[in-house]
Structures are given as C-alpha cells and as structure tokens.
C-alpha cells in the first residue's frame, strides 16, 4: 500500500478542561478536519472511530452527529493502538473499493468525566466498572494504569541500569516542546528537581512520569494520494503501517520490557521501505515516561537497554537527532490515546509551523500507538508528498 493513500486533512478539538461530552469533542475535531482538507461533510463516505469503551457502535453515533450515511464504517477496540489502526483500516477499505474518503478519529473527556464530583475524582478508571478485574487485583490494592506500566519501568531499571533521571529526561524534553505549543495543557517549565521532588504515585513512577488526564479529540481524513493532491493542504503520504499484539499478556516472558512495538515497527519499516535512520521526527505513545524509552529501543533508534542514555544525550529535543513528541505529547500537551501524535506528525510534514516549533526539513515521521491492556501496538510511517 506504500505511497497510494494520504492524509488530506487533520485537526484536534479543544483540549484540556472543556466540560464537553466525548462525542461532541470528536464531532468538533472531525468537522475541523473536514474543513482543514477543504472538503464538505457530504464528501465523506467512510467512518472509522473509537469511542469511550462504554459507547456501543460508536461510529454510528458519529455518523448521526455528522448527518452522514456512509458506505463503510466501524468502531475499533484496541486501546491506544486503535488510532493508527483506524488509519490503516481506512486505507484497506479504500483499497478494497468500499469507500473513497474515510474520516478517522478518537476523542475522550477524561478530565470532565473524572472531575464532576468528589466521587468521580477518586475513581480515575476510564474502563467501565463492570470490566475491571474482580480478582488478583483489588484485594491486593492493585489499581490503575501507572502501576502496570511501572512494573515494566522497574524491570527495565533492574536489567539495564535505567534511572529515574532517564525517565525525567523524557518528561523534561516533552514539557519543553509543550511550551512552544499554545494549545498544550501544561504551560510551566519543568526542571529535573521538580521531576525528582514530585510526589510518588506507583514507585518508580512519580507524578511527572504519568500522562495527563485531559479532554480532547483528533481526526484525520484518509483518501487516495491522487485525490489528496487536488485538495487544499500539502498531502502527507502513508508510507507504511504495521501492528503486533503481545496478546498473551504483559506479565508473560519479557513483554514488559520488549514491547510489541518491535514487530510492529518491522512490519511498518518493511511496507515503507524505510529504516530508523530515515525518520526525521518521532511521535511516540507516551502514556508513561518509561514506555517512551522502551519504544525508542524497539523501533531501532538505539540498542535494547540503551534508551536511557539515548534520552540523556538530548536526542528527543527539537534540536536533537530525533525530535520526539514535538507537540508536548501525552505527558504535556493532552492525553488522547495517541490520536494527537498522528495530528502532530501530519503538521510537521506539512512544514507549516513557525520556526520555533518546526522540525527542519521534516521528510518522514514515525507515529506509534500502544494500548489494549498494554500489549497491543500499531505503527505508522508518514512522508511529505513530493
């Protein structure tokens, strides 16, 4: 599928503390993405979406909001790996002749739904209550995503000598990028002292290792490269994508330090005919700092175990060798389960940012998506159309 399809439009909703419904956020992002492409709503003939996990046939709800009957639509259920999968599925649907112009997107109102009342505030789980584990978890006080991911961080520290300062380097680099992004939720600089001095959540993870609880949505318009060239924006071409899921689980073998990202990356690089050295900017699924370090290794930007020193070298900064999460990422822009990472990759490849935010000469962007009980992964390689 290399070089056949393109992202012709993209947008985000309002981000942060919006007081909005998750479906409304996504509708806002989708309508903005349609405008961004220079299209009309009626030009869309496919929808691939993902909603909060308790919304049944989410894509239908979006079609109703947009006022659209479509040739192809479905909702995905692969956690943070869904958003790239939606772009891949859009390409496949178009390739199969089932649609010509597919809108994808994801939105959630994590801040609003957890801050409506004091009870909501203590219950930060976004998974529906009846789907939470009922044994081998609550009786041990094992709750919420930080601890699950911190198991991986702890084992990475133990096996490879990774330090909290290495994790902090990720948080600091992305915060610095957020300060250049007026839409980012986090507005204040972060120092290593701030990072190390912050309260612990599930050790080794403290406050700044954890991504934000924020509202937001993002959307993309996928169509043929040929059609995209006739539209308003400079097209961003889909070079390759890949997926891999360690479905046996996070606790099995070395899954928590060698992520499904490795095989997913290999599939994407193969489809694109590219290698890590071709990547101008990476937008990595940063639910927690340690997950960035593990993925940088799995994507081949450094050897397994060397992610900590790679971060400490300054590589992730805008002026570094691999400018990463240049919008601030989920740690400092807003956490929309990887959706905003796709938006940012497209914008960097359009080269439309002011100089202080632009990756110079951006040619190829890598986006990663991770989730589905921490073991599902998707990869997307995008390129600037010639």
């Amino acid at each position: 599928m290399r070089d056949k399809y393109a992202i012709a439009g993209t947008a985000t909703s309002d981000l942060g503390r919006t007081g909005m419904d998750s479906l409304a956020l996504l509708e806002q992002a989708m309508r903005r993405a349609i405008d961004d492409a220079g299209l009309e709503v009626g030009d869309i003939d496919g929808i691939v979406s993902r909603g909060p996990d308790d919304v049944y046939t989410h894509h239908q709800r979006m079609g109703a909001r947009l006022g659209l009957d479509v040739r192809f639509s479905t909702s995905l259920d692969n956690g943070g790996a869904s958003q790239i999968l939606a772009v891949a599925l859009a390409c496949m649907a178009i390739d199969a002749g089932l649609a010509t112009t597919v809108i994808t997107g994801y939105g959630r109102n994590s801040w609003t739904r957890t801050h409506g009342s004091e009870g909501d505030r203590t219950q930060m789980e976004l998974v529906p209550q009846d789907q939470l584990p009922k044994e081998f978890a609550p009786e041990y006080g094992y709750f919420a995503a930080p601890a699950t991911h911190a198991f991986g961080a702890r084992r990475h520290m133990y096996e490879f000598g990774t330090t909290r300062e290495h994790f902090g380097g990720v948080a600091l680099a992305f915060r610095e990028h957020a300060l250049r992004n007026p839409d980012a939720v986090m507005k204040k600089p972060l120092t290593m002292d701030d990072y190390l001095g912050a309260r612990m959540i599930a050790e080794p993870y403290g406050l700044y290792d954890c991504s934000l609880v924020s509202d937001g949505a993002g959307a993309t318009i996928v169509t043929s490269l040929e059609r995209a060239k006739a539209l308003k924006q400079h097209p961003v071409v889909i070079k390759g994508f890949g997926t891999f899921n360690n479905t046996r689980g996070w606790l099995v073998e070395d899954h928590m330090i060698r992520l499904a990202a490795k095989q997913s990356a290999e599939a994407a690089y193969r489809m694109a005919g590219l290698s890590p050295t071709d990547v101008s900017t990476a937008q990595i699924y940063d639910c927690f700092t340690g997950m960035v370090i593990a993925q940088l290794e799995d994507y081949g930007f450094c050897q397994k175990g060397e992610g900590g020193p790679f971060v400490a070298s300054g590589a992730l900064r805008l002026d570094g060798t691999l400018p990463t999460n240049t919008s601030g990422g989920q740690l400092s822009e807003a956490h929309v389960e990887g959706m905003l990472q796709i938006v940012e990759a497209v914008r960097q490849l359009r080269r439309s940012y002011p100089r202080e935010r632009q990756v110079p000469d951006a040619e190829v962007a890598l986006v990663s998506g991770h989730g589905g009980n921490t073991v599902c992964h998707s990869s997307l390689l995008l390129g600037r159309a010639s």
Binding site: T122, F136, P138
Partner: protein, 131 residues
Amino acid sequence: MPLPAPSIETEPFWAAVQERRFIMPKCDACGTVSFPPTVACGACAKTSFTWTEMSGRGTVYSFVVYHRVYHPAFKDKVPYVVAVVELEEGPRIISNIVGMPIAEVTCDMPVTVVYDHIRDGYLIPKFTRSA
C-alpha cells in the same frame, strides 16, 4: 477491604487458600501449570488437568510501591508493595510482598507464600522474603 470475586474457573484456587493450601491446575499430559485456568493446556492443548499443590516458592519478577490511594480501604496501607511473583512452577501472579522493609525488596528476590486475613477471616496468598 475488597474481597476477590472468584469465577467458576478460579473457585477451587480460592477455596484451597482458605485452608492455607496453594493449588493450581497442572496438565495431566505435559505437566505444564497454567494460571489463571484455561479450557485447554496452553502448551499442549490437552484438556485434562489436576489441581496440584504448588511449592509456594518463587521470585519477584517486578514490583511497585503504591503511594497514591485509589481505594478507601488502602488509605492507611500506603506505602505498600504490589509485585509480579514468578512461581517456581512457572506462572506469574499479582500479589503483595509483606513482612520486610520495603526498601529491601528487589527484583529476582526469592519469596515464599504466606496467608493473610483481609476481612471477616478471608485469606489471600501474599509473599515474603524466603528464609
């Protein structure tokens, strides 16, 4: 304190724990211990199992120290350790590491099962540093 809600498949495990016994299903064909239970053996796909006494020994594969309180029952318990314990027989399970200073818990540390009352006399298996 939340009690575990056993499923049809895990009920024998929890019933044995109440008698301070630590049992898991062992494949009659190849000897693989699978936990949580599945319909067929993950290694050889045979469907005949026997609930078998485990050694109760293992190592800490990884662990975290909870500081944030997510449930009112744990308000006075923080900081506490939640660990992934790798049992000698193979399976990895979630548990707590208890009866030792938190600062001395390490990955790959050998541990042994202990039983802890959590509410109304209900027992759950936890682990402590092996003697």
